[in-house]
Subunit: 441 residues, 2 copies
C-alpha cells in the first residue's frame, strides 16, 4: 500500500499545522479588519473557464469519474489553479446579488500539475484579496492594497517585507513612446531582469526589434526606484512622453502619496517590476522578504480592467493581491524557523487515579472547558508517572490531580515541577500557555 | 462561457459564507477544548489507497493532467471521498512522529462523483475527530466521543440533537447466538429499518436464511432503546447469550454510565443503529436533529479495530465521528433559517468628504483597526447620502465622519440615525455589532 509522501503535495505534522492555522487566522483577521468579506468557491471549474485566453500557462488537473459510463456527464471539469479565475466566474455568476465595490478575501487550496521543485507545489494554499467595481474603480483601492499588504505581512512572523510597486501604464507609455507596438513581450522580458540580468535582457530586447537607444532607455527605466514622488521626476527625466505614460505617472504618484504615512522602507516604486501575467493593466505589486529576497515574491498582484467581465458586456475592473502562504511555510519548516510551542491544543491533562474517580475527573475537565481551557482526561488509571510522561510527550504544560475525599485539587506545571492547590472553577493558566503559540527562531 | 452553477457543487454568497465560517469556527473551538490536534491531509491519494477493500462504495474522482504526455507520472491519483481513509494513511505514514493515543480533528472538503440529489453533494465539508491508539485504546474514548458530540452539536445553532448509540458486538453477539454466521448482511439489513420498515426487513432477513423465530428476536432487539443501563437488562431479557454479546454489553454499559451526567434525552442507546460501513467493530453513533429527524444523521461514526493499520503489522485501533456540516448548512440556507447579521466584516465605514481629507480618514481608520474594529474608507469623495447608501447596502452599521478643522469626529448608527461625537482612539461599538453575528430564525 502506498502510504508514503507524494511529491509536490506537502503535508504537515500537527505542530506544523498549528503554525499554519495561526498564520491563516492572522491573514483572515487582517483581511476582515480592512472590510474584505469571505467567500469560498468550489474547487472545480469547467475547463472552458480554466483555459480561457490569457488565464494560465499552468498545467491543469482534469477530473474524471472512476466508474463513469461512456457518454456520462462530468466531462470537462478541472481543479482550479488559482483563485482569481474562479473569483471572476463567481462575480459574473452572482453579480445581481453582490454590492459593489465588492471586496472579498478567499483562502483556499489550489492545484497545478507542474513538475514539483523547490518552492513550487502541486497543491498549496493561496490567500487572495480583490476589490471589484462596476464600470469604474477608484485608484484609492490601488493604494489600499499597499496598506493592507503592509499590515498583513507585518502581522505574519516572517520579518520585514518591502512592497515593490510599479504601474503597467508607465512601462507601456515609455515603450510606446519608444515606438514599440507589441508591448507584452517587452514587459515579459523586462520582468526577467532579476533572473537573467541586464545583458541577456538587452539581447532579448534586440531580438524583439528594439533599437540600441531604445534598449538603453528601457534598461535605464528599469533601474529607477524610490519611495516617493521623486520617482515620477526621474521617469520624466528619461525624456520620453506619451499620454499612457502621463496616466500611469498620475496613478503611481497617487499611490505613493497615499502611502506616504507608512514607515520608511515599507513601500518602494520599482520600475523593473512588470509581472508576467498579461491581464494586469495598471498598478502592480510584489512583496519581498528583506531577509530572504532570494525566495522571490511572497505576495503579488495588480490592477486589471477586464478579468471579471466573463461573458458579460459591462466592465468589472478590479485590483487584487495574492499571498503565497504555502511557500512561506515550506521555507519556514525547511529551516525550522517557525515552531509551535506544543503539538496539541490541550493545556491541562486531568490525571485519573482509579476507576471510581472518572466522574470527578470529568467534572473538573468540564469546569475548565467551560472557561475556555482546553483539556483532556487521561483515558485509564495508571501510575501518575506514566500520565505525566504522556503530557510531556505532547508538550501539555499542566497536569491536574483531583483531590481525595475532601482534599483540594492540585495542578502541576510539569515544566517547572511547581504544584499548587486549585479549583477547576477559578484556576487560570498563564495567558501564554492557554493556546499553543507560534515561536520564531 | 459557462459561468453558472454546477450541480452538486454548492457555493455560498458572502453572508452565507460568514455563517459557514462561524459554524466551522465553533467546531474547531469545541474540538480543541477536548484536546484534539489539527491536521490537514492533501486532497489527493493514490487510487490504491482510495479503493482498498472495504474503504468505499462511493464514486471517486480521478485526476489526469490536461497536457500530460503519454507515459508520464501522476497516474492513479484521486480526490479523497472522506477524511477517514486519508487519516489512516497519514497515521501509517507519520506514525514514528506522532504521540499516542493520537487525537486529531480535520475539517476539509471531500469529493464524491455521485449523482447529486437533495442533501447529497459532490463537494462538501466534513468535520472529523478520531482517536487512534497503539495496540489498544481505552473504552473511555468511546464515551468521550458522546461527550464531545453533545458539546459540539449543542454549540451549533441547529437546535437539540439526540445522540443514538449502539455497539456492533451486541448485535453481532445476538446474531451469532441465533446461529447467523455471516453477520454483515444482517447488520446492513437491520440498518435499513427506518428506511424500509420492519416488514421489508423481515423479508430480507428470511432471504438471508434466518428462521422466523430468529427474525423475531432480531426485530425485537432492534426495537430496544433507552437512556440508561436498563437497556442492558432488556437485551439480556431476549434470552440469548454469546461471549461477543457479553463483551458488547460491558462496553455499552460503560459508555452509558460514563455519560450518565449528560442532560436527560441527549444520549439514547438504540439497537437498530447499525451503520452500514463494515469497518466498525464496537460502539457506533448517529446524531439526529430533534426538530428534523427526517434529515437523517447529521453526525455519525464508531469504533474500528484495524482501519489505520494500513500496510503495517501492529494494530492501530481507533474511534471517531464525522459531522456533516454541509448538509446542515444546505438545509439551513434552503429554509433561510440561519442568516448573518451583515454581509461584510466591516463595522464602520469612514466617510470621505473631499480629496484633502483622505489622510485624516486613513488616520481614523487605522486607529479603529488597531483596536480590532473592522472598517473601510469610502473610496472617493461623494455626497454623504451615497456613502450611507453604500453602507446600508452591505449592512455596515456605523458611518464615521471626520470633523472639519478643529471640530470633533462624529459617528452615526445608520439603523437608528443616532449620531454622536467620538474619537477613533476610544470609541467602541456595542459588542453585538463588532463582528457579523449568526441569527437563527
Amino acid at each position: 500500500m502506498k502510504t508514503g509522501p507524494l511529491s509536490g503535495f506537502p503535508e504537515w505534522l500537527p505542530e506544523q499545522r498549528i503554525v499554519e492555522q495561526a498564520l491563516l487566522d492572522t491573514l483572515r483577521r487582517q483581511f476582515e479588519l480592512f472590510g474584505f468579506a469571505p467567500i469560498e468557491t468550489r474547487a472545480v471549474e469547467p475547463l472552458e473557464v480554466l483555459t480561457q485566453k490569457g488565464a494560465t500557462d499552468k498545467e491543469i488537473y482534469v477530473l474524471s469519474r472512476l466508474h463513469a459510463d461512456e457518454g456520462e456527464g462530468d466531462k470537462g471539469l478541472g481543479l482550479h489553479f488559482d483563485l482569481t479565475v474562479p473569483f471572476a466566474r463567481y462575480v459574473a455568476q452572482h453579480r445581481g446579488k453582490l454590492a459593489f465595490p465588492f471586496k472579498r478575501y478567499q483562502i483556499q487550496k489550489v492545484w497545478r500539475g507542474e513538475r514539483p521543485q523547490k518552492g513550487r507545489y502541486r497543491e498549496f494554499y493561496q490567500a487572495d484579496i480583490d476589490v471589484i467595481g462596476q464600470e469604474t474603480l477608484s485608484i484609492q483601492h490601488d493604494a489600499d492594497m499597499v496598506r493592507v499588504l503592509h499590515s498583513v505581512m507585518g502581522a505574519l512572523p516572517v520579518g520585514a517585507v518591502t512592497i515593490h510597486i510599479n504601474n503597467r501604464k508607465v512601462l507601456e507609455g515609455i515603450y510606446r513612446a519608444l515606438g514599440v507596438e507589441d508591448v507584452v513581450p517587452v514587459l515579459r522580458t523586462v520582468d526577467k531582469l532579476d533572473k537573467i540580468g541586464p545583458e541577456k535582457v538587452r539581447e532579448e530586447l534586440a531580438e524583439l526589434g528594439l533599437a540600441p537607444g531604445a534598449i538603453d532607455t528601457v534598461l535605464a527605466a528599469g533601474e529607477i526606484r524610490g519611495a516617493d514622488e521623486g520617482v515620477v521626476e526621474a521617469i520624466r527625466a528619461l525624456g520620453v512622453s506619451h499620454p499612457i505614460l502621463d496616466e500611469g505617472l498620475d496613478e503611481l504618484g497617487f499611490v505613493l502619496r497615499a502611502c506616504a504615512d507608512l514607515p520608511a522602507g515599507s513601500v518602494v516604486a520599482d520600475l523593473h517590476i512588470a509581472r508576467g501575467l498579461d491581464y494586469y493593466t495598471g498598478t502592480v505589486y510584489e512583496g519581498l522578504l528583506d531577509d530572504e529576497p532570494g525566495l522571490g515574491a511572497v505576495c503579488s498582484g495588480g490592477r486589471y480592467d477586464n478579468l471579471a467581465a466573463m461573458g458579460g458586456k459591462a466592465k468589472l475592473p478590479g485590483v487584487g493581491v495574492s499571498i503565497g502562504i504555502s511557500r512561506l511555510l515550506g521555507q519556514a519548516f525547511a529551516q525550522d524557523s517557525l515552531v509551535a510551542s506544543r503539538q496539541t491544543p490541550t493545556c491541562v491533562l486531568v490525571a485519573l487515579d482509579n476507576d471510581e474517580r472518572r466522574a470527578a475527573a470529568q467534572v473538573a475537565a468540564s469546569a475548565l472547558r467551560a472557561r475556555g481551557i482546553a483539556c483532556e482526561v487521561f483515558d485509564r488509571p495508571q501510575k501518575y508517572g506514566k500520565q505525566i510522561k504522556y503530557a510531556d510527550s505532547k508538550g501539555i504544560p499542566f497536569v491536574w490531580f483531583c483531590g481525595d475525599a475532601g482534599a483540594a485539587d492540585t495542578v502541576k506545571d510539569i515544566r517547572s515541577g511547581e504544584q499548587v492547590e486549585a479549583t477547576a472553577d477559578t484556576w487560570q493558566p498563564p495567558a501564554e500557555d492557554l493556546h499553543p503559540r507560534v515561536l520564531r527562531r
